[in-house]
Symmetry: C2
Subunit: 434 residues, 2 copies
């Protein structure tokens, strides 16, 4: 048995699947596994995707074993002809494959429970490389496999690497990771990295402006080894602190306090929170209600709000008033207003927001009207022009923006601005967001 | 200048970004770029993600250059401290960085157009490695960069590799790839791989049932070397044909004809078409109008319809009637109907769809009411229960479904079923979709 691990854990993730390299599917394993590992205090040093061919899989695994303490593969354990991971790794490590009767029993039980005969092709799934630990698959047929590669023929000094093969389907991989791999990780790496991470979600300040405002005040902490990272999204910037070692939690708490002190009005949440999730949460806590009147965002805001459990207690109604007739009929916008000022105007958005509030009796209402494009603009009212209004107990606030982007980005960014305006009014943060 | 490329093009994609390895974001670049390249006749041999550290970026680029004809990096070109790609690659290739006045002008114009001063930090984005080609960024500040690495110090015989650096934000990367990199690829690799791919989009038949129905009839083609692939998505199955060589186009056309003959009623589109895009296209061509009344999907259908350019000519109005009051006020549902049958019932969905048609005068209307969950279900009406109605010139059709999924999947799948029901009625395909 190799000695317990007593240092830094380097990890590589290898995703097999030709469909990944053909761009036919999104690699959700990467995010899911990396996130889970980082929540456990580990970080992944490299992720590689290769097609379902023997040489590509073998090369990636050999390279991973030459560098990393832990190599995790996904996919290629199933029964079809393009499932080569098990066989190729067994050959690479010179470990004969033996049929395992426990695995065969599990597979038999899986099919019996569905009233089906065991397909002959699943026999290959019962094969286990010599010395490997079996990770039961409770949601499918192919088990996961864990191997302690020691001595490791691909690594300087023969240093031990652990190699774990997980099945491709997410509904099989995820519970297997949580229930079977996590205990193994704790056993293999009892003294793990102690990595900690914290993300602040911000809106209203661009990426470079954000860095200009906080990197100076945080310099003491970054000089002491804390990582500071930025990730720009549409209408948002994530600020990420990461640290290791015994002072990690303390460093991160200090960094968060400094950042909130400098740009607190722009911080709307942490980790996976979204503007819509913090808004629905706040409205629910305070028993407030909301109505929406969307022209150019076309239901995008309603869709995001209703993605959040609890939205049914908050959202009274949404109006997607794409046509002038709907603005008049549903929101009571005056025909004269549309004629004189046009559908995309401050006057119209004010009547829309007041109309939505009146029709529903909601405490707060959002209205947006604009030109999403790609056509429909003019010199005076260009594509991207949008008026956003929020009505609340304290009155109506209106913003004019020019969001010159493709259609979906336009809708997303306009929604961000509208939700931020609502959030600002509901929280009573002084001043309007920049 | 290196000679024109005359063989197989090997490609490696390197995604930089610590947030990828920390599992904070999904790597959408991988799918998008791999997909675009395969549509152009190229295939990606390997994809690697590394954190934003100099050594990790350098190691991945060096390895890529040792193997591939084309190496594409994403990310790390911005103005913040963790943007190291440009600098590290310039150092690796021993190419000094020089300020480029055209890039500086573009950046100045970008900020001037937004009424902002140029942040000092963006100066680093004007630096261009000696001999690199600049790829203009029309949607941001950092330009892309393309370098012909010849002689290539990392590859046997010094064979030329092309290295392209693209910016991280998708709305900058995507148009840059399409408008600026595609012409370069055509110039570099005029005789490209000749890979062809075709995807049929289907709905209403599961993945294994689809395979059972078409794999036999397609056996002659797959035996002859054509690849047949399936990709199951929520409420959809993609059927993918891929082939190489001089008969590729002919094989794929034959496969498509055979498949349409067997399961044609389920094929709603090809490649990147969606149910909403084919519906908006058909409505626009035929001058038809649409109204939506959404309860449990909460604006999801309206959002998808309004993502399609041309939707403003088609969609008259959408109602997100989350509350009973809104169903009564906006759609004219009778209070007695809600009281006797409940909000989630065939009777209510019929009154909703007729009410939406009456309020707007639309040719067609969709209504949905159901229980998205996670709470709100009962023994008689479980979480996931949904009623879908479509009204058209020929009358009203109603479907009852039980979609037991998480909230967002529930909304997506319910919308798929509603859009497929609409599509079936509009196209007059006989029988109801399975």
């Amino acid at each position: 048995m190799p000695a317990a691990y007593d240092g830094w854990v380097t990890i590589e993730l290898i995703n097999t699947g030709s469909e990944l390299l053909l761009g036919r599917i999104l690699n959700t394993h990467q995010q899911w596994l990396c996130r889970r590992l980082s929540d456990l205090g580990f970080t992944v040093d490299r992720q590689v995707a290769v097609p379902d061919t023997g040489p590509a899989i073998e090369a990636a695994v050999r390279e991973g074993l030459s560098r990393a303490d832990l190599v995790i593969t996904t996919g290629g354990l199933g029964p079809t002809c393009d499932d080569l991971t098990r066989e190729r790794i067994a050959a690479l490590l010179n470990r004969p494959l033996h049929p395992d009767s426990t695995v065969a029993d599990n597979i038999a039980r899986y099919f019996a429970g569905r009233g089906l005969a065991v397909p002959a092709r699943t026999q290959v799934e019962t094969l286990v490389p010599e010395g490997a630990t079996v990770l039961d698959n409770r949601h499918g047929t192919a088990p996961g496999l864990a191997i302690e590669v020691t001595p490791n023929p691909f690594r300087a000094g023969g240093t031990c690497s652990r190699l774990v093969m997980l099945p491709g389907p997410p509904r099989e991989l995820r519970p297997m990771f949580d229930r079977q791999l996590v205990p193994l990780l704790t056993q293999w790496f009892p003294d793990a990295n102690g990595f900690q991470c914290r993300t602040l979600k911000t809106t209203g300040i661009g990426e470079s402006a954000m860095e200009e405002r906080i990197s100076g005040p945080l310099k003491g902490l970054t000089d002491a080894g804390m990582d500071l990272g930025f990730c720009a999204r549409v209408g948002e910037v994530d600020v990420r602190f990461a640290a290791r070692g015994e002072h990690a939690a303390q460093q991160i708490a200090k960094a968060e306090a400094i950042t909130r002190d400098r740009v607190g009005a722009s911080v709307f949440g942490v980790e996976d929170e979204t503007l819509e999730s913090v808004i629905v949460g706040e409205f629910e806590r305070r028993g407030l209600s909301l109505a929406l009147a969307e022209s150019c965002t076309g239901g995008h805001i309603a869709n995001r709000i209703t993605n959040i459990p609890g939205a049914s207690k908050v959202l009274l109604a949404g109006y997607v008033t794409y046509s002038n007739a709907a603005k008049i009929h549903d929101l009571g916008v005056l025909p004269a207003t549309l004629e004189v000022h046009g559908a995309v105007s401050e006057e119209t958005v004010r009547e829309m927001v007041v109309g939505a509030q009146r029709a529903t009796g909601a405490d707060y209402a959002i209205a947006v009207t604009g030109i999403a494009g790609p056509s429909g603009g003019s010199a005076e009212k260009p594509v991207g022009l949008v008026f956003i209004a929020v009505a609340g107990p304290a009155g109506v606030m209106v913003r004019r923006q020019v969001n010159r982007f493709d259609r979906e980005t336009f809708k997303y960014l306009t929604a961000q601005q509208a939700l931020m305006l609502l959030w600002t009014m509901v929280r009573g943060v002084p001043g309007s967001p920049s």
